[in-house]
């Protein structure tokens, strides 16, 4: 089948090459030398890998909270509250999701600009000028600042999936709860949230996978700095292979990243199957 030929040539083949490369020392130009598992032992002991892994883990942990909650909140607002123009608002809220990462970087660089950025200007206007600072230049704030920009482009996905899930809930459950005297919060807690548990796992894990491989915004806005405070795994892999010319080591990082993402996906499939069995 032609589809498989293309898929094999430009997906399976590079995957295999990456695994193979991870067992070599190679600068990308001269002949590589066999490395056995040296790249893997080196990775385990590498403090730069530890930093990137920690930042990635923090990012992923925050990603399954902030965009998911914002997206859920908006989905509830648009699906359950009596609103004029639901479709219009859904379109507006979803807009950031369709932008390329470069446009997002252009925007947030302006928002975070230390001298005339929208964020600092707004803080000053509110009399909170003492909070204004160079957001992307601070070792403690750059990572959260990047994460906020990333979240801005991801809650839209969460929102539309939850909206579809909420629309699938049988309206009589809400009516029954209302008859029993449940107020809006109780209806959300006891009817809506349990009913969308399955989609919620899916959303959480898809978001986690996206968070785990975050690259574009880091590359565009901070390049891992200042002082590696925004270094994440995908960016570290890129650096290792294309800046430090340690192609074998970069491939090793790629394999590690792939294994971790595969593990998250397997959990996704397992948990989702659990919900499906529970439902039937």
């Amino acid at each position: 089948m032609p589809a498989f030929a293309v898929y094999a040539a430009f997906f399976l083949w590079p995957t295999w090459q990456m695994v193979r490369l991870s067992f070599f020392h190679w600068d990308g130009v001269t002949v590589g030398t066999g490395a056995g598992v040296e790249n893997y032992t080196r990775m385990a002991a590498d403090p730069l890998f530890a930093t990137a892994l920690t930042n990635t883990a923090l990012w992923t942990a925050a990603a399954i909270v902030l965009p998911v909650i914002v997206g859920l909140g908006l989905a509830i607002l648009l699906s359950r509250a009596p609103i004029f123009g639901t479709t219009l608002f859904r379109t507006l809220f979803f807009l950031p999701q369709v932008l390329s990462s470069v446009v997002v970087a252009v925007l947030w660089r302006w928002i975070y600009n230390p001298s005339f950025g929208a964020l600092n200007t707004t803080l000053e206007a509110l009399g909170l000028g003492f909070l204004a600072q160079g957001w992307l230049g601070s070792t403690s704030l750059a990572l959260p600042a990047l994460f906020l920009a990333w979240s801005w482009t991801h809650y839209g996905f969460v929102m539309v999936v939850f909206m579809a899930a909420i629309d699938d809930i049988d309206e009589t459950y809400f009516d029954a709860a209302a008859v029993d005297g449940a107020n809006m919060w109780q209806q959300i807690r006891h009817v809506l949230v349990p009913a969308i548990r399955g989609p919620m796992t899916t959303v959480v894990l898809i978001t986690a996978i996206a968070a785990f491989q975050v690259f574009d915004l880091v590359y565009l806005l901070t390049n891992g700095g200042p002082a590696r405070s925004t270094s994440v795994l995908a960016h570290f892999m890129f650096e290792a292979a294309f800046h430090f010319r340690k192609v074998g080591y970069g491939a090793t990082l790629g394999v590690a990243l792939m294994v971790m993402i595969l593990a998250i996906s397997l959990i996704l499939i397992r948990v989702r199957r659990g919900f499906e069995e529970e439902a039937t």
Binding site: A3, W13, P96, S100, V103, V106, N113, T121, V161, A164
Partner: protein, 278 residues
Amino acid sequence: MSGPRTLARSVSSTGLAGLLSLFAVVPLLWVLTTSLRTKPEILRNPLGLPTGLNWQNYSEAWTNGNFSQYFINSLVVVIPTVAGVLFLSLLAAYAFALYTFPMKRTLFIVLLFGMTVPVGILIIPLYYQMLGLGLLDSLWAIILPQLALGIPISTLLLRTFIAELPRDIVDAARLDGCGSMRLLWRVVFPLSRSALITLVILQFMWIWNQFLLPVVLIHDRSARTLPTALSAFLGRYGTDTHLLMAGAAISFLPVVIIFVIFQRQFIKGISAGALGSA
């Protein structure tokens, strides 16, 4: 519940939604307004509104900034890739949905594997593969991998769709002596139109916005696509905000317009992909 109270709740909920949507919309509006201002205007007051409609920024970005070339490059990548992904996926999905063949299950699992591995992770081997093939700096270097990476998800969605088509139609066509290729083009293809449209839009958006592949695989300036051109612009013309914004608008307006026109299919596709039948 009394009428006026319901109305009051509607108005306040709508007001809340409107207020919140500003966070999504205002940054984009700012790009558009700034793209119409002159450089001195922006330097005087970075956050202000345009005093006149300064369309020269667009023509300057388009011609001097070479955005016309980058725009065409993006189209040259997107159109054949989307068409190729859909053609190949339709063939594969058709086989998976309606036929049995040896190793069907194994092949399907191999395909599912492709959905879990994001393209960025393969960037190192892809770079050396393209180097070996002599395709670096050619648009082929970003077309081919994206063709491969679009296939798993598209095949999966189309397979589900085709498997759910009414069997009677398929069986009737077969009884009438319809060969397998004729069945595909005369019966399955027209019936799958809505799924195909959804996939066209999804794939268009992903490929149009793809950043990492061109950054690594294309260094030749004349072969840049819009996202990489814009990022180079971001670095080089740090102070020419007016041109940067015009460039940004050129790169995001096509996707935003397509999204707004097809938002129903697009959103349906996203939620079906996520909630799907996997």
